[in-house]
């Protein structure tokens, strides 16, 4: 029960963060160039992600549980530590916070300057490809989390449901405010998701390696608490020795980073 609840929370939060980032790009091209091709791109992206989950989910479920937990736990650990590292660097002032308003403004200018060309059944190819890429690139991490969490907990439908609820909430909020969801505390959500991915990854990888946790499943809660405590401590420590002044978003983000 605890495992399923944590699975829902982890997938929901991860999907919310990525959906907010995708929404910013889709909103910018939709507002500046029209919604028809933007919606076609979003739908094509969602179908691609659903196909990835539909193909890889059942395939992973056939792998023996110990081997699955070892490999998937390791991948989740690498992913989770990446999210946590980035969230800590942002929270402590070493990396600029994700600014949805600034990204939206930049995307709006680029979209207005691009040419209108149609291909196949798509009226505006630029809008279609940008929306498609935004959904697939931002959604790929969520698809990975859905597949790994779902297969390890033997509950892919619950993971899919959590992702779908998150997308529905973000789309509804976006439609309501008709602007980037800049008030969503993305870094805090990423911090929480990073803690959960790292904790689940540690728990499953060790189980897959043949380690027996004291207290069995209850150990997961202790790991989450320990990782959260250590991550918060590292943030405070780094904040005390952080360089003064605001880090510039352009200079701090790695080149080519769409999500993050």
């Amino acid at each position: 029960m605890t495992g399923n609840a944590l699975l829902f929370v982890a997938v929901f939060l991860a999907c919310t963060v990525e959906a907010v980032e995708a929404l910013t790009i889709v909103l910018a091209v939709g507002v500046s160039r029209g919604w028809r091709s933007a919606i076609q791109g979003v739908l094509a992206g969602l179908v691609t992600l659903a196909a990835i989950v539909a193909v890889l989910g059942p395939a992973l479920s056939r792998i023996p549980l110990d081997a699955l937990r070892l490999v998937v736990g390791g991948l989740l650990l690498i992913f989770g530590l990446g999210w946590l590292r980035k969230a800590i660097l942002r929270a402590s002032g070493y990396k600029a916070l994700h600014d949805e308003d600034a990204i939206y403004a930049r995307q709006l200018i680029a979209s207005r300057a691009a040419e209108h060309t149609g291909r196949f059944a798509v009226h505006d190819w630029y809008t279609f490809t940008l929306s498609f890429k935004a959904v697939v690139l931002e959604g790929l991490e969520v698809a990975f989390i859905v597949i790994t969490f779902g297969s390890n907990q033997s509950n892919i439908p619950l993971a899919v449901l959590a992702a779908a609820v998150a997308v529905a909430v973000v789309v509804a909020a976006g439609a309501l405010v008709q602007a980037p969801l800049a008030r969503v505390p993305e870094n805090t959500l990423k911090f929480v998701v990073g803690v959960l991915l790292t904790s689940f990854g540690t728990f499953w990888a060790a189980e897959g390696a043949g380690i027996a946790w004291p207290g069995t499943d209850a150990a997961l809660l202790a790991i989450i608490a320990a990782v959260a405590f250590a991550a918060a401590g590292l943030t405070l420590l780094l904040r005390q020795v952080a360089p003064r002044g605001e880090p510039s978003q352009a200079s701090q983000l790695p080149a080519g980073e769409v999500a993050g």
Binding site: L81, R85, P214, V241
Partner: protein
């Protein structure tokens, strides 16, 4: 040929960024730590504390390196 090579490079770079991310030493450290956990379990040593400790150490080291690099820049 160069177009295929460019495409392959782009493909490999996408997956590298996607899985490994900003710090490859974190990924390498995770693989080493899990391998050590497998070895410990294989020798009937139930070192459940090892992986969490290794993971938090890796995170602290990676953050220290990133902070040092940012201060130098």
């Amino acid at each position: 040929m160069s177009r295929i090579a460019g495409w392959a490079r782009g493909f490999a770079s996408f997956w590298w960024d996607f899985i490994i991310g900003d710090d490859w030493t974190l990924a390498a450290g995770v693989i080493l730590a899990i391998s050590a956990t497998v070895a410990l379990a294989h020798h009937a040593i139930d070192a459940w504390w090892f992986l969490p400790l290794a993971v938090l150490t890796l995170l602290a080291l990676s953050l220290t390196r990133a902070a040092r690099a940012a201060r130098k820049a």
